[in-house]
């Protein structure tokens, strides 16, 4: 019936039979309906301004010249015409130097396009349609957008995002601090490349492309980051389809060398975590088709392949490391799917062994899930969990009872009404109201504070999560675009951990922020959700709270630091074992003498007291770990040679090189 209408209505349309096949022959059109006979112009569009890939191979070209300053709406869902799967791109500039202004693929009904764009009187805009989906003809309409009434102010717990274009080469994305400046950077990886976009203090990014030795396996399935060799710079772990590759950072974070193992691993989620709690960061890889894999680190540069300690059967998709029973050692949950879909909860027995307690805790069901979101949803000091579906059709929200057991509270939580499914499920506080929200199932589920969840109007997409403009609100990096959190008036706190006895990232540390209005708990993790690597800086939304009573860090080593006097809306660096605090010193003040050193190295500029330090040799191996005492370090045990001294203060890590005679 619609096609009949089309032929009838064509009579009434302004039909232009000219060729609109190149930019130079673009047809200038005014407001109203215009028919396009077919998308067959031989000059393709220079760049896509819309989603879903390249600009196609054929195009139709139009221009529009504005007569007033206003906003124009273009749509291809014109009454009386059939629906056609169009894509449109709007440019400023002239042929040969066109710049994207706007674009759209599918915002109209039934895959038609709908886009609005601002125009300035006297300016000419180029409109291009491409053949990404079809060459079929269609009609489009240009109209002024009627001034809309101002939208009602959003409720305070609902958050919005804006798009900021920010490309990074490769895939296997991380949002993590790679240069110890407490600013989250963006990382993209490929076989012989690590592209780091270093976040600058002014909010821009500096792109550094590092050529690496070729990786046997790329991060096609997942990526994790952490400082495996303790040299102060994050290494990367690529989870590939037939094996895993470590990409080891050098002692200045400026180069990477790959290390691969010959073992076949169908890698899924990867993590870095100190599995045996010996102070050295280990790694874990979910295996899709066989028993899970761990790489144990002896602290001297040796990694040992292990298979079978942490789950014996196939179907391992999403591992996440969390201390579910609050006993101070780290446990692991694996969301499973496919060939053996029965989920695992591996309780750490504290002696290097693990026991699967999923059956006794009601978690050993055949839920088809690729990841799970663990966090303290109700701020009662223990880790609750949402096990999100990938295809089984239902999600499970479990409340931690605080005694090592869980209660299924899905019914009535709002989770039971949410039908979206996905392979990614993570939890972070996006609106900084103090309650962890859930990203998954193609939606952002806002935690209303009473263990109920409501879908947010805007979904930022899936990708690594971190603070990409240092405003205290968490952003999401999707391919080529930062989904920047617009934020609100809520307060926040970020904590970066530096382990000294524990692994240097402080992965596995439990951080508690105490305030007059409540207590908030986070864990430092490497690897959540299914695929990406999100920030290791712990993030706390504080709502309207302006006062922080104390910050407590319980380190994997068992050391507990309690820090007072922390201000809201700041990023604090907490170094393991320095809870007495040291006066903040600027890094430039740190000086070493005498150089070459003999038995005692003096490190000036830090004042009296103890300051944790490490010494690395020329190959990056840790040779000394200890404390400066009143600016002095005993280096009499070191053999002559070149060394790097790392000094950990609340300001971060300072490095100085020196030689020993």
């Amino acid at each position: 019936m619609r096609s009949t209408l089309l032929s009838l209505s064509l009579v009434a349309l302004t039909y232009e039979a000219y060729s609109q096949n190149t930019c130079a022959t673009a047809l200038n059109v005014g407001l109203g309906v215009h028919a396009v006979d077919a998308v067959n112009g031989t000059e393709p569009l220079p760049v896509s301004c819309a989603t879903n890939g390249n600009p196609g191979t054929l195009a139709e070209w139009y221009t529009y010249t504005a007569t007033v300053d206003t906003t124009i709406r273009l749509n291809t869902d014109v009454a009386g015409t059939i629906w056609v799967d169009t894509r449109v791109h709007i440019y400023t500039g002239t042929c040969g130097s066109l710049n994207c202004l706007a674009g759209d693929d599918d915002s109209g009904s039934n895959l038609t396009s709908l886009v609005t764009f601002p125009v300035t009187a006297g300016q000419t805009y180029t409109i291009g349609f491409d053949n990404r989906w079809t060459t079929a003809g269609f009609s489009f309409e240009l109209a002024y957008v009627q001034p809309a009434p101002p939208p009602p102010p959003p409720p305070p717990s609902i958050i919005s995002f804006t798009n900021v274009t920010q490309g990074v080469s490769g895939s296997g994305y991380c949002v993590v601090d790679m240069n110890n400046d407490q600013l989250d950077d963006i990382v993209g990886t490929s076989t012989s490349n690590v592209n780091i976009l270093y976040q600058q203090a002014n909010g821009t990014f500096q792109s550094v492309n590092i050529i690496t030795t070729p990786a046997d396996h790329t991060a096609s399935w997942s990526i994790a980051a952490g400082d495996i060799d303790g040299n102060g710079y994050n290494d990367l772990l690529y989870g590939g389809g037939s094996g895993s590759t470590f990409m080891m950072a050098n002692n200045t974070g400026t180069g990477f060398t790959e290390v691969s193992f010959p073992n076949y691993i169908f890698s899924q989620r990867t993590n870095m975590v100190d599995i045996n709690n010996d102070g050295h960061l280990d790694a874990f890889v979910c295996h899709d088709v066989d028993a899970n894999v761990a790489f144990f680190n002896d602290g001297n540069g040796n990694l040992t392949f292990n298979q079978g300690l942490l789950g014996l059967t196939c179907g391992n998709y999403g591992s996440i490391w969390t201390d579910y029973d609050n006993d101070g050692d780290i446990d692991m949950f694996v969301a499973k799917c496919g060939c053996d879909p029965v989920d695992l909860l591996m309780r750490n027995n504290g002696d290097g062994t693990f026991t699967n307690v999923a059956p006794e805790l009601g978690m050993a069901d055949s839920h088809q899930s690729w990841s799970s979101a663990w966090g303290d949803f109700d701020n009662d000091g223990d880790m609750d969990v949402l096990i999100g579906a990938s295809s089984s059709g239902y999600h499970k929200l479990l409340e931690n009872n605080g005694d090592g057991t869980f209660t299924n509270i899905t019914a009535g939580s709002g989770i039971d009404l949410f039908t979206g499914q996905s392979i990614e499920w993570t939890t972070h506080d996006f609106d900084n109201n103090g309650y962890l929200d859930i990203l998954g199932g193609g939606g952002l589920l806002m935690n209303m504070g009473d263990m109920t969840f409501v879908p947010n109007g805007t979904f930022p997409g899936n990708g690594p999560i971190g603070d990409l403009n240092n405003d205290g609100f968490l952003d999401v990096y999707t391919s080529g675009t930062i989904r920047r959190n617009v934020g609100n008036d809520n307060n926040w706190l970020k904590i970066a951990t530096v382990g000294v006895v524990s692994n240097s990232n402080g992965i596995g540390a439990r951080i508690t922020v105490e305030t007059p209005s409540g207590t908030f708990t986070r864990e430092v993790r490497s690897g959540d959700g299914f695929r990406y690597m999100s920030t290791m800086t712990a993030h706390f939304g504080l709502g309207e709270e302006t006062e922080i009573t104390a910050v407590t860090v319980r380190w994997p080593s068992g050391i507990v630091d309690v820090i007072e006097g922390v201000d809201v809306n700041t990023t604090e660096v907490i170094v393991e074992g320095v809870s007495t605090g040291l006066a903040a010193q600027r890094d430039e003040q740190v000086q070493l003498f005498p150089v070459p050193a003999q038995d005692i190295l003096t490190v000036s500029g830090l004042g009296s007291g103890q300051v944790p330090v490490r010494v690395l040799d020329a190959t990056g191996r840790l040779v000394l770990r200890g404390n400066l005492l009143n600016e002095r370090l005993d280096v009499s045990g070191l053999t002559p040679g070149a060394y790097v001294l790392q000094v950990f203060t609340p300001n971060g890590t300072t490095q100085r090189s020196f030689t020993k005679e």
Binding site: W221, S260, P262, N263, Y264, F266, T313, C337, S390, S391
Partner: protein, 377 residues
């Protein structure tokens, strides 16, 4: 311990699970290790020249030890009792060519178990499949890459894989998996380069299994009910198996049979269903690796277009522009076409067994989707 963990304990899965020390420095793996001759090569075959297969001693260290072939090993001339067979439509494996053989112990035979079920093979049965390329550069010659075995012992199937040496004189047992580059000239005269994947035991198991138990995939009546040229003439394969004593006679006369996917005289929908059966149904079926997704691609399940994903939205929004698994009339919006043409290892389908796209197969799928009338709601 669950059976899936120690399938073929001899087949090196358990050794894989043992802790092995590997140094960060100096543990780079070689891309193309030359298979080393294990010493000693056990067992020592007894005198004679017939097939020597003892299921209790298998897998042997070398392919030649079984005496499946006579003459030069690389000629793959079957010994007495070693019968070639060929499924009507075969799995795409990066354009590798394949030779398949079946052998059974004297007096043993398989039984019909259903048109769409793998034949019920006897203990001691061996399925042999050799993967090779012709016109391999630089010398424009045949290169045999690997020969895979599936053999049955005490009611269970076991894997073995033999990797051929450069001289093409022997193949050595290796179930650890490896990669080897292959450059050849294809049918159209184009030079093709791939990094061919020789599977590990765990990769074999991913496709060849029901629940946790290894199984064959191809030898079903639906795939074998076709003519084949033997040394002594053209015969229906099932009839030939009966004649060899390898199949009990009396199976049904009217077998629901697949068609050659590239036989243009056959209806397009049957070609597509045959192709999807052989390339996809080993995972997308009940009790198989990807049973949790809604598609059901087995030939006897795919008459229902919903099982093929027609107008079914994907479970997961990994690429939102692909609005349906199969969007009627619109391959560009169909997840199936996207995955069949992708080489991204997290997107491509099948996930295992190919690194490049099967252009001709994907083109047929594109034609079929384009031919589906109407649009999805």
């Amino acid at each position: 311990m669950r059976p899936g963990v120690h399938i073929g304990g001899e087949l090196r899965l358990l050794p894989l699970m043992l802790v092995g020390l590997l140094l960060v420095q100096g543990c780079r793996k070689e891309r193309e290790p030359e298979p080393e001759a294990p010493t000693p090569a056990l067992p020592t075959p007894p005198a004679g020249d017939g097939v020597y297969f003892d299921a209790t001693l298998a897998p042997y260290q070398t392919l030649s030890a079984y005496r499946f072939f006579t003459g030069a090993l690389k000629d793959q001339a079957p010994n007495s009792g070693v019968l070639p067979y060929e499924p009507i439509t075969s799995l795409f494996s990066d354009y590798a060519k394949k030779k398949r053989f079946v052998w059974m112990p004297p007096g043993a035979k398989a039984y019909y178990a259903g048109d769409h079920q793998v034949l019920d093979f006897p203990d001691g049965a061996v399925l042999i499949k050799t993967f090779y390329y012709d016109h391999v550069l630089p010398n424009d010659e045949r290169r045999i890459i690997e020969t895979r075995l599936l053999f049955k012992r005490n009611g269970s199937w076991y894997f073995a894989d033999y990797v051929w040496n450069t001289d093409q004189t022997e193949a050595y047992l290796d179930l650890n998996g490896s990669n080897t580059p292959v450059t050849w000239v294809d049918q159209s005269g184009e030079q093709r380069n791939i990094l061919y994947r020789i599977p590990s035991a765990a990769e074999c198991q991913t496709c060849h299994k029901v629940n946790f138990d290894p199984i064959p995939i191809g030898p079903k009546p639906q795939n074998l009910n076709s003519d084949m040229t033997y040394q002594d003439g053209v015969r229906n394969q099932l009839e030939k198996w009966v004649e060899m004593g390898y199949l009990q006679s009396g199976y049904p006369a009217n077998i629901m049979t697949t068609v050659r996917w590239d036989d243009a005289t056959q209806p397009l929908d049957l070609r597509v269903r045959s192709y999807l059966d052989m390339n996809c149904a080993h995972c997308h079926a009940d009790e198989r690796h990807c049973n949790y997704r809604p598609m059901r691609f087995a030939y006897n399940e795919s008459e229902d277009l919903v099982n093929l994903g027609v107008c079914v939205p994907p479970d997961d929004p990994i690429a939102p522009e692909y609005t349906e698994i199969v969007a009627r009339g619109n391959p560009g919006r169909s997840m199936m076409h996207y995955r069949l043409t992708s080489t991204d290892e997290t997107v491509r389908m099948p996930l295992l067994g190919r690194t490049i796209a099967h252009d001709e197969g994907a083109e047929m799928i594109r034609e079929w989707i384009s031919s589906l009338p109407g649009t999805c709601p």
